[in-house]
Symmetry: C3
């Protein structure tokens, strides 16, 4: 236990010799497991927990029978210790004889390409990266080092991934953007070639069945360290800044720019050609139709300042009452008007 | 026809000897086909139908030229008869020489593993289950009996499916949940290992491109007999109770609990760590931000009681008028105030 | 440059001999590249552009240093010229020895079936069509001429594609529709067999991870020239008319009918069994719960006429103020009432 505490620079309150063999939630942890308590909202779970050790913030009083490990950020320390207990699986390097690798592809000898994966002409795969079965890597596409492409991921031609990128199953990088010009004489929607690419920077993770479309010309970019959840749509020529969080089923329309450290909650929609500023937060199911300033918190469809949305939502809840109130007032005013008439 | 009626325990009104060779909608059925009429909303289609036989509820008057089969639940009887006319296709058991099956996998001799499917070490496939091309079954994952995994389905390591489970193409079971802890000194979003699994119980069906993420620790669970439509997101540690219905593009956030027999309509969002009670119904596009009681019917974003939502929606439609009304009242009050002044 | 202008029937203002080697946006184009300017909204980008040539609408004044090509529809002309610069890649015809093609399939000798693609018994693939790795084409399914099925596309049994159809990666055509009948005695949701098919007509393009479900009986249809973006749900028995546009993450419920030339913006939901009329436009995130007339423009959830939605949205923004106003009025009326009392 003492080494675990040392690993995250924590101070132990209580028994530092206790054997710890895993991490769990406060509810599930037993005497040989470690958990974390970072949010007062979960105080009851903390108090009821049977965990042998708990990561806690400074100021937490010591506790009978539980070793506390005091750290400034318990959730972060938990993430690091959980990584110790769950190291990434190691894969034997090499190309499966049942993979489909073009002789003109460049696969690092330290990389793993499994059966049923495809690597096209001119594509590159970096050291220690893993392509699971059913992965497709198009011509001249590039995967950096230490990447994981889970089964049935598609990365189309010329798109590039940095290092330590994780793409979950069903994720599609580089499908054509949605661009057409209407020909009234066809009539027909004429395809605008989507001749650009996608650049996924280092440390990005993209969820299952999420789509990042290639640019019309130029690049669609997902910046360093940004994390994207499942079933998210990132349209052509979008630029998502570094360190942003995009939750499940959100959609970002063409040429929109998402700043640094932005949070888009679940099912959010962002229209095209606007900018969501650095550190902005957008509430679940919101529809962002205009630029959002740096640091702003917005909600609703169309999205407005979160405080205003709360006020409007509350007022909306009382709207039927308000209608009745106005009707009653009108009657009283009519009475007064009649009285006033001599 | 008489055997069909007997199969569903129905009583025939009219010709019981009529030959019936298929099932169709009321609009499409001809004299040798059977349809059903269960909802008075479709009375006109029923009256105009050329169907040779129609499943109807008790109390339906007999009809010239059409054999009626009286059953308590016409739609249910239709489902059973349609199953007679459309039996599940039989696949030759065995592992294709072009499948990628690890020698340490356990495939029942009665199962079918098609070309291009992958079964990893320690994975198990039960009797009569079918893995179509492009299916991926990870290490130690388990598929019960009589399951169908359509082309390009992914089931990641250690996840388990019960019996008679159907997963449609592009469905992903067991991708990592979306969990990160922010390290302000990186700055970086540090991955919280998603070390849990997914358990899909018996008789569950999950639609195309739907995602059920593995738990952080413990299990994400989809309960017995629940049916999930396409493009649905089920986040880590969610528990969906038995016999629920989740319509297309709905999303359920982490650790939410969906009860028994719940209906989530299309594009619904449910926030994390809340409970939607047994038999609750949530209207399309609603955003559920708080616990929903057993049996409640809610709508709107944020969701409120359906009746209240209807009232507020109606009031919202008249809001511009209300604004005008209040402005007029203010003028009248001003007039009265002036008059009152001596 | 003169040939480019001739190709789109444009008139050159300025130097017609300038060499042009590519197309770009106004921002990115340099002296040897062509761009377009069709919308006054981008006038500043046009004025600042370093492009050697720009497609412009009639009436645009000539410009020093830039060759203008006057055409009635600059965006359309740009699409056609971009197609010249980015011709579709040619693939060597033939079936890869590492594809899984059933001997009873009919693959045209001019078609390309790549490694890891599957073509089942009785399926047909037309001349010049390309099936990328991981594509699945089910029994008796048919692909017309000049189609492109990108990696990991699934087309289930008996579904048909016309000519020049493009399906992007992860797209699923013909998964079972979502149909169940509840059996209270199980209790269980009993599957209604989805025995119909999907028909995708000529010149349709469908985005990554979009799903078009097979009909319960009969057909689900996507009409000629319609373009569907990523992550879209098209349920069983839907009929989408020709030349419509369905943006990302929209969902169309069972048996709905979408007319000709309709536009559904992103994240729209359409309930089942209704009709959206020809040339109707539905705003982003709207929920369409009733028939929409031909040519109507609707927004909101539930959707109303767009103008009404704008008015209500504006009024909603002032709702908190309105509540205050009514409260103030009530006090003034109370005062007046007291005064009136002798």
């Amino acid at each position: 236990m003492a080494e675990l505490a040392a690993h995250v620079g924590g101070e132990v309150l209580g028994d530092g010799a206790r054997p710890i063999h895993g991490v769990r939630t406060l509810e599930e942890a037993g005497p040989e497991q470690l958990s974390f308590y970072g949010n007062p909202r979960y105080r009851r779970a903390f108090e009821a927990s049977r965990a042998g050790a708990v990561l806690v913030p400074p100021g937490t009083p010591p506790r009978e029978g539980t070793s506390l490990v005091v750290v400034p950020l318990p959730h972060l320390a938990f993430a690091r210790l959980s990584q110790l207990f769950h190291p990434a699986p190691r894969h034997t390097p090499g190309v499966s004889p049942r993979a489909h690798v073009h002789p003109g592809a460049l696969v690092h000898p330290g990389a793993t390409v499994m059966s049923g994966a495809t690597v096209e002409r001119g594509a590159r795969v970096g050291n220690r990266s893993v392509l699971h079965p059913g992965v497709y890597l198009g011509e001249e596409a590039a995967v950096g080092e230490d990447c994981v492409l889970y089964p049935n991921v598609t990365v189309r031609e010329h798109c590039t991934l940095g290092d330590r990128v994780i793409l979950h199953s069903g994720c599609v990088v580089g499908a054509d953007g949605f661009g057409f010009a209407f020909d009234p004489e066809g009539p027909a929607h004429v395809k605008v070639p989507q001749a650009g690419t996608v650049r996924i920077e280092d440390d990005v993770e993209i969820g299952a069945c999420s789509c990042v479309d290639r640019a019309t010309v130029g690049e669609t970019v997902v910046g360093r360290g940004t994390k994207i959840d499942n079933l998210v749509q990132v349209a052509h020529n979008v630029r998502v800044g570094p360190l942003s969080i995009v939750c499940a089923q959100a959609g970002i329309s063409g040429s929109a720019e998402i700043g640094t450290g932005v949070v888009l909650a679940g099912q959010v929609g962002v229209v095209g050609h606007i900018r969501v500023g650095d550190l902005a937060k957008v509430g679940a199911q919101s529809g962002v139709a205009h630029d959002v300033e740096d640091g702003a918190v917005v909600s609703g469809s169309p999205a407005v300042a979160h405080k205003e949305w709360l006020r409007n939502s509350a007022a909306l809840g009382g709207l039927a009452d308000l209608v009745r109130e106005v009707r009653a007032l009108r009657r009283r005013v009519e009475m007064l008007e009649k009285e006033g008439t001599p």
